[in-house]
Subunit: 458 residues, 2 copies
């Protein structure tokens, strides 16, 4: 994990690590893992088979294991911990910071995390349970409890002496701010430690602190946090309970990472990779099952929309050329609708639109849908006319695409708002709802129009 | 922009702002804009018509305009600046930090940014041009030049006096670290200003600095930066030129935001919203044209794959039931393939896979594709059999879906790697390439198999 080391080829590192695990050579294992840079450490752990990986974490000390865990992705950490015996896992997670520990245990199955919690020391277990209970994406789930606080009556002199005597610990915490508390542990102020540079020795913490600091509660959402951080340029925000007692600090970095994580999850959900992340190093059966769970919902939706075609077989049999245009209508409407979905998702995530502004979105999207529908319909209608030399066929095909594009663009723009208004996750459900609606409408339009014009088409 | 103010309804704020613009009441405009929290400021600017917005930024002073610009999204800022006269725009952008100014000008059309650069003071223009020249996503494009540096021979006493005398400026910079330079401006060390707390007055900067700090060059990529930040927990990294002279600082936040921005762009590109962002407040013609540019590529690809159906019309006419399954094959294979695309994109972005590891991905995806293909094929084949009471029809439909799922999953897994290996952007092109290939193969398979088994199907 030292970037100064000359680059060693990844395959060689992997070979050395496998060899060291084989020989249970702990020193050598850590040497290889420390020689790799951050991304290679994650990749090394990714490429170990499950039993090699378990053996590695069995021979490392808890401290060494925790060091490695801090350098791999959190979902890898969860996989590793899940494979270990509860007592071994407990010894490792004890070494982690309170927020990382809770995050990791929350990734595990309930009975696995319970087994590990039972093995932790009582006060650590209690704190961890409290942290785990906070809802994902709230300040409670992102905060850490390793902060530095001083009583408000302490003088600068006393504080400086305290800092000198506990220098190592404070440096490890990377302290930028200290928190000033009353005797009842209520938060009274924030003290940027730099301010100690400008203060007289006999002033008290209360004299030089920033009083009445902005605070958040454990339930504050990550979006609200991000707004506060943007607004005030804070590095961290104190989290207080109902009695205004300081219970933790949430820092800007954790908040930004949580938002980033949420954006990535949205991208994966669009492709129906729900639940935990998929990596190719995971067992085949698990990967297959996770992907199938989504595909099986999709196949049902597909059958529903395809049933429209089944009910219009006679029309289709009479004008077989229509079959060529069915997948085009389906795919093009889907594309147009998905563009509108993406714009709505983006505007929602930027808070540029509220979930209730249906009217605005409808007006904006219906006009755009009509324009784009007219362009695409004209194009495809002309092609159909030229191909079969039948102007009515061109009208049917082009008209169906034009109308369906308008519908798709409106539905695409509105569905994310509707889902959000009903507190559902738009990333997961918008796509399938959109394509089912647009496929059904598209097939109905083209086959319905065709059966009305049947005498002119055959 | 003060969260303490009781919440005023957004519509009321907008009305007040429109009224203040109408009356050219600058004080009132700023009062409304300052009363709104960050997200509402962006939304207020979003909801102004182009001419109201131009008028607003014409009546505000450059300082006030810059203050507002700092509170809206960067793409909104670019729109605003583009609408102003070059000299008015120049006066506003002069107020921004060096990195923000370069980012903003880079968003504009070349002749617009040139016109503004011509209006800037020579040294500002020169610095801005230098910053603009750095490639997007590199340390050069993210760094700022507003840092605090001291000569290495300065004593703590001298430094403390300097800090006291320039306290306001340093607090505005939010200084955590100072940089220690030689007489030739070479970077010699980093000085966490907190360390001044623990030092004797007669020590020099060189005595208490962290010597030989980790540095990056202007060409360091955002991914490399993120790795360094993760590894060392720095808040900022000094950027040096070839002679090891300090040219700027890139901070963790800017780096993380750039990565997050890239992830969001990927999501938008998946939906074919290329180039600049789309907001519903933009002119209809622009939004329509941007979306159509992507759809028109897509319609050509669709026509290519639909031509396969046109060539097999005879088979389709003989077995019209097949028409029901064409959109299902197309859609299901697309879904399966897109899941593999998402996993490859994720592994590429996490550096868990190199673009050259085709073999590994092929093996992993082909086995998974066969399993999922078999499951889906069996399901849809059985349904086809039951529906028409023809087992051969079931075999044709199920077999085609099974084979095409395998193909789609392999192609989906490999296309992002191929594009990356050829230095193309996988987010933009993977989807269309995948669906074109899988649609063509799918239609060929089902119609080809059907024509081989035609005697048993009619």
């Amino acid at each position: 994990m030292d970037s100064e080391t000359p680059t060693i080829h990844f395959d060689e590192l992997l070979e050395r690590l496998l060899d060291a695990i084989e020989r249970s050579d702990v020193g050598k294992c850590m040497e290889v893992l420390r020689a790799a840079d951050v991304e290679d450490t994650a990749k090394l752990v990714d490429r170990l088979s499950a039993d090699k990986r378990t053996k590695l974490f069995e021979i490392l000390t808890p401290e060494q294991s925790a060091e490695v865990l801090e350098h791999v992705y959190y979902f890898q950490g969860a996989d590793i911990i899940e494979e270990l015996e509860p007592d071994a896992a407990a010894q490792i997670v004890t070494q982690l910071d309170s927020d990382d520990r809770a995050d990791l245990l929350n990734e595990l199955k309930d009975n696995d995390s319970e087994a590990i919690l039972d093995e932790l020391e009582d006060d650590v277990a209690e704190e961890t349970r409290r942290f785990m209970a906070y809802e994902e994406g709230t300040a409670g789930s992102l905060m850490y409890s390793e902060f530095v606080s001083f009583h408000m009556r302490m003088t600068v002199e006393e504080i400086l002496n305290d800092i000198q005597s506990k220098r190592d610990k404070y440096i490890e915490y990377g302290v930028q701010y200290a928190y000033v508390l009353s005797a009842r542990k209520e938060l009274k102020g924030v003290l940027p430690v730099r301010n100690l540079l400008f203060a007289k020795r006999d002033q008290t913490a209360a004299d030089i602190m920033i009083p009445n600091p902005t605070t958040v509660s454990a339930g504050t959402t990550v979006l609200e946090l991000e707004n506060l951080f943007e607004q005030y340029n804070f590095l961290g925000l104190p989290v207080v309970d109902a009695k205004h007692r300081l219970i933790g600090i949430v820092d800007r970095e954790a908040s930004t990472e949580a938002l980033q994580e949420a954006a990535t999850e949205d991208l994966l959900k669009f492709q129906g990779l729900m639940g935990k992340e998929e990596l190719r190093s995971m067992p085949l059966a698990l990967r297959s099952r996770r992907r199938l769970s989504w595909l099986s919902i999709n196949i049902v939706l597909n059958l529903i929309s395809a049933s429209v075609i089944a009910f219009h077989q006679d029309t289709l049999e009479a004008v077989i050329a229509l079959a060529v245009f069915l997948p085009i209508i389906s795919d093009m409407s889907g594309c147009s609708g998905n563009q509108a979905v993406a714009v709505s998702m983006r505007e929602l995530s930027l808070d540029l639109i509220s979930p209730k502004e249906f009217g605005r979105v409808f007006v904006k999207e219906s006009t755009l849908g009509m324009i784009n529908g007219a362009c695409l319909g004209l194009l495809i209608g002309t092609l159909a006319w030229i191909w079969k030399g039948n102007a009515i066929l061109g009208l049917v095909v082009g008209g169906a695409l034009a109308l369906n594009t308008t519908i798709a663009v409106c539905v695409g723009g509105l569905v994310p708002l509707l889902l959000k208004a009903f507190k559902q996750d738009p990333a997961l459900a918008s796509g399938p709802i959109l394509t089912t609606v647009t496929d059904m409408c598209g097939f109905l339009l083209i086959l319905g129009l065709a059966s009305m014009c049947l005498p002119y088409l055959v």
